[in-house]
Symmetry: C2
Subunit: 214 residues, 2 copies
């Protein structure tokens, strides 16, 4: 349902903000509220208030709460995927590529950290349009991460697809943890943050491999 200005002369006969612009405002506001309060915890009225407009306009443009959430998923998913694809198109590999991606995602997520949470919301509907959108975008993002992580694991002689899948999830959640930590320590400069990450990586990497005996 959510459509940008289409067929006709763009922006013909209008009093207020053109639909495409307004849709953008609403979606950005909605991403913030959905991402911080969760799908079930968010009311459409709250989103409207946040966007500075009235509830019916949201329904006029997005049809339903689910339609609005779906638009948010497409908005956030595109932003994240494009950045990751940009970095993936470079020629770095292994953990170095990991650090580069981390850096890029940091920059993208810094002003809007809640985007990430849209895709991991337990209170989101698990069937229908929303489930499909979540699946579509997590798969798109995950595909890129899987590519990098798979490369790394294969380099170490592990090519179990489930291992790669799990490791990808771990890798992605590390992003979340580091960004969240950063937001809680705003006096930290990006450079210092990157250094810190490298230090932590180094420390963990130089630890001894444990032996198993449960």
């Amino acid at each position: 349902m959510p459509r940008a200005t289409s067929g006709m002369r763009a922006n013909a006969g209008t009093k207020g903000v053109p639909r495409a612009d307004r849709e953008g405002q609403i979606v950005r506001a909605a991403c913030e509220v959905f991402g911080t309060e969760g799908f079930a915890g968010t009311s459409v009225a709250a989103v409207a208030a946040r966007a500075g407009i009235s509830k019916p306009l949201v329904y006029q443009y997005f049809g339903s709460k689910e339609g609005l959430f779906s638009a948010c998923l497409h908005h956030g998913g595109a932003i994240l995927a494009e950045e990751m694809e940009r970095i993936a198109s470079g020629d770095t590999v292994g953990l170095e590529r990991g650090l580069l991606t981390l850096n890029g995602i940091f920059r993208i997520l810094e002003p809007q950290p809640w985007l990430w949470r849209l895709f991991f919301d337990p209170s989101a509907p698990r069937e229908g349009e929303i489930a499909a959108a979540i699946k579509e975008h997590t798969e798109r993002i995950t595909t890129l991460a899987v590519e990098g992580v798979g490369e790394l694991l294969r380099l170490q002689g592990d090519d179990d697809p489930l291992d790669i899948d799990a490791m990808t999830r771990v890798w992605m959640s590390i992003f979340d943890a580091l960004v969240t930590w950063w937001l809680d320590h705003p006096d930290e400069s990006p450079a210092a943050m990157t250094e810190r990450c490298l230090r932590l990586f180094t420390a963990v990497l130089s630890a001894d491999v444990p032996v198993l005996q449960p």
Copy 2:
């Protein structure tokens, strides 16, 4: 508010299930629903149905939806913290202790994986009794994690408190990712899960340390 049978002769004059037992049943059902649907996504009626009783009984025993959720947090928090403390009291250190902890938690979580999610619910109230309960139990767990992580980093010659703090967050988030992944792959046994983790740790640890040049 939730109290076991107290003062009087235990279980005097009763028709149905004794209160303490019933409370246990309700809390277990509630943990499952809250943990899978999120706080905002859960209705008390749904919990009552799951527990096989009526809604007012829930209110009679727990006072409110928040009271019920709070009881769940204490129930789950105690279970998790006790297991982690048990392992912390052993004498393993570094990554080995990390793996042991993972193994223990996986075993605990196998029949009730949703317990973990209670403490990372974005739709849960962020003030009042619930916020306090979440804080109390996550801090109890975090303290243990900080202990283990700090030990690991100091072994590698890093004793920056901020590094330890950040690394703890990363570690717990790794933990979270692995548990979440597991929730999506329920046919995996705890033992298999632990093996997988060991395999992943090993692979990553034997990778080369990256060089910085952004």
